[in-house]
């Protein structure tokens, strides 16, 4: 893996993010790799707040705030326009949260993916509507406490399988990543940058504010998500070729769940079921990847 240090930051300091925000870290790594010849479209969400208020901005790249749910379509139009203006080498980054991707943005995402429009779509997933004060989204995992899933009515459905949905579109490149593994994230963005067509990168970004853990623990909590396999890291090429990031260390999911306040209301009786689901999902993914092992550390 290339571990080149990129000095050019595309993100000014002093953003409006909460302390310990995974999103800002992810955005930094993504835009660093993409470089100056990039334009960004984002939609309502933490990302649009972090971007700053007029007349200030945190973005060193041309940046457009589009309407909620239209990130992919706006990016498609922007790419088409840039191509027609002769700027065929400019990258278009669509940057949207889980609500803007899994929920309200799913239709336009599906449209752009199906057309294989040449854009890099990054979903920063903090597993709820955090910007509006922690309401559940279809990315919210089972047993989560949010303001719209108050006890005893905690989230009772599993997280939507967005990767399965996107793989069904047979796009040339997609990957999951976690901000706690920045070099892996950078490498995946680098691959996306080199690939023509629709790219989808699903990045888990731990959220101290909505997941209820101390701001200093953001990177640690992300690592627990990956090592517990609650959020496996892998790539899918052309919707069929799965490549897993396999880590030697494996921890029980309980360790991930208990590190966050959002799962504290959930009965520990559910832990075995969650562990079983995670294990079977992992087996499925390993089978899909034909045991192709790409070790990352």
């Amino acid at each position: 893996m290339e571990t080149m240090q990129i000095k050019d930051e595309m993100f000014y300091p002093g953003s409006f993010s909460c302390p310990g925000c995974g999103l800002t870290m992810a955005y930094r790594h993504v835009t660093k790799v993409l470089g100056k010849n990039t334009v960004v479209v984002t939609t309502a969400g933490c990302g649009s707040v972090v971007a700053g208020y007029y007349p200030t901005t945190t973005s060193k790249l041309p940046f457009f705030h589009c309407s909620f749910g239209t990130t992919a379509a706006t990016a498609s139009g922007l790419k088409a326009g840039l191509d027609m203006m002769g700027k065929t080498n400019t990258h278009v980054l669509a940057w949207a949260g889980d609500g803007g991707t899994f929920d309200i943005g799913l239709q336009s995402l599906s449209g752009a993916a199906e057309r294989n429009d040449d854009i890099i779509y990054v979903c920063y997933d903090n597993e709820a509507y955090m910007n509006t004060g922690v309401q559940r989204s279809s990315a919210t995992p089972l047993g989560t406490l949010t303001t719209t899933t108050p006890p005893p009515a905690l989230e009772n459905r599993d997280k939507k399988d967005i990767i399965g949905i996107m793989a069904a579109h047979k796009i040339p490149y997609m990957a999951t990543a976690c901000v706690s593994y920045p070099m892996d994230l950078q490498e995946k963005i680098r691959k996306a940058k080199k690939t023509k067509g629709f790219k989808f990168i699903h990045v888990l970004i731990p959220c101290p504010t909505g997941w209820f853990f101390p701001a200093k623990d953001a990177v640690t909590v992300g690592r627990l998500a990956v090592l517990s396999r609650a959020f496996p890291l892998f790539e899918v090429i052309d919707g069929k070729e799965y490549r897993m990031n396999v880590f030697e260390e494996k921890i029980p999911v309980a360790q991930y769940l208990t590190a966050q306040g959002r799962f504290r209301q959930m009965s520990t009786d559910l832990y075995p079921r969650i562990q079983t689901d995670i294990d079977s999902r992992w087996s499925e993914l390993m089978a899909l990847s034909n045991k192709r092992e790409e070790s990352t550390s």
Partner: protein, 381 residues
């Protein structure tokens, strides 16, 4: 070159002549054949544009926003529910100051659904900050689209060119098609002042303070106030090159000005036929309102001078209020010195036919009345 083509073909041809670089559209009756024609032009290479075949009207307009942000010229067309689906994006585009040109083939709003024409679809978008022009003939559609690009790119706001479903979109009629060279001279490529430029990065459309939002709205109003002057200037250029003149308001004044019918779109054509056949002798004139946003108040006042009575025929309905043009006209005249009685009439909703005979019966009825009938008269259907 004069050819027999439909209103939709005229719209597609005009779009082609304007050389948009990004097109995004979704099929809906009665707009569909515009999208089909443009697909043909981009497929055979006669139009060098990227045609994004989106999965909804929301995405169609979002893609236009994206395309326009690159500095490119963009085009879309829709109708009825499709326009309603774009609603949020219309606000977005005017706020982002993007000169997107949209052709709307007017069709009534569901439910229940009908394919027939009325103007509730576009009039529901009254406050989105998009300019609105209503056309009567296929020639006017073609010419207005060319004028619209120049106007939108000058005032930096989105614009609708509205045409009646079926009564215009599907009528084959004679249209003078200008040469591409002439159009290129009239309408050079878009020269965007603000766009997504990696050499001059900027952030667009983000969060602002209340005060900043207030100022941005004032800017839109100020630029809207300039639209009609700019339109006249562009129409002068158009007239000099193509020999056809368009104004915000078109007027027919008979010698004896007893009554004027104020209306828009194809309804104005039927009124013209009525005036020629029967209305002239009765002192009936016409004011055809082309612009709805901005509303041409001054031109309207000027056109009304000399008439004793007015009938406003609205092919739309604001339930609980009445005809929308009627409200706008009455509001425009409020406080002016020589106010005349105005009769508000609803007609032709859902594409119901309005004929010369219908108009004659209406005029005879109104001429008999000493005072303007209050409320709304519904034309026979």
């Amino acid at each position: 070159m004069k050819k027999l083509i439909t209103g939709n073909e005229a719209a597609a041809l005009a779009a082609k002549l304007a050389r948009p670089q990004v097109i995004a559209a979704y099929p809906i009756t009665p707009q569909t054949s515009i999208g089909e024609k443009l697909a043909e032009y981009t497929a055979d290479g006669s139009l060098k544009a990227r045609y994004i075949k989106v999965e909804s009207e929301t995405s169609a307009f979002a893609a236009c926003i994206g395309g326009s942000l690159s500095g490119a010229r963009v085009f879309t067309a829709t109708s009825s529910q499709g326009l309603a689906l774009m609603h949020e994006l219309l606000h977005w585009a005017s706020g982002a100051r993007l000169p997107i040109v949209l052709v709307n083939v007017n069709r009534s709003m569901a439910s229940p659904w009908s394919l027939g024409v009325d103007h509730n679809d576009t009039l529901s978008q009254r406050d989105t900050g998009c300019l609105q022009i209503y056309c009567e003939t296929a020639q006017e559609v073609l010419d207005t689209i060319l004028i619209a690009y120049k106007l939108a790119e000058s005032v930096i706001l989105p614009i609708f060119i509205c045409m009646d479903g079926f009564l215009l979109s599907h009528y084959s009629e004679a249209v003078n098609i200008p040469d591409q060279d002439e159009v290129d001279l009239f309408l050079p490529p878009r020269d965007a002042q603000y766009f997504m430029d990696t050499n001059a990065p900027a952030t667009f459309g983000g969060g602002v303070s209340s005060e900043a939002l207030y100022q941005f709205r004032q800017r839109i109003q100020a630029d809207m106030d300039n639209v009609l002057t700019e339109h006249d200037r562009i129409c002068d250029q158009f007239y000099q090159r193509f020999g056809r003149r368009y104004t915000a308001v078109e007027t027919i004044k008979p010698e004896n000005q007893e009554l004027v019918i104020i209306t828009n779109s194809t309804m104005a054509g039927t009124v013209k036929a009525y005036i020629k056949e029967k209305g002239q002798q009765k002192g009936v004139g016409l004011i055809k309102i082309r612009f709805f946003r901005p509303f041409p108040k001054e031109a309207l006042k000027e056109a009304l001078k000399g008439f004793k009575k007015a009938i406003v025929i609205d092919r739309n309905l604001s339930p609980g209020s009445g005809g929308i043009f009627s409200q706008e006209i009455k509001a425009s005249l409020y406080g002016s010195e020589d106010q005349i009685p105005i009769v508000s009439v609803i007609g032709g909703l859902g594409g119901v036919d309005v004929t010369v005979d219908h108009l004659d019966r209406l005029v005879c009825e109104v001429l008999k009345q000493k005072k303007a009938q209050p409320g709304t008269i519904w034309m026979e259907a």
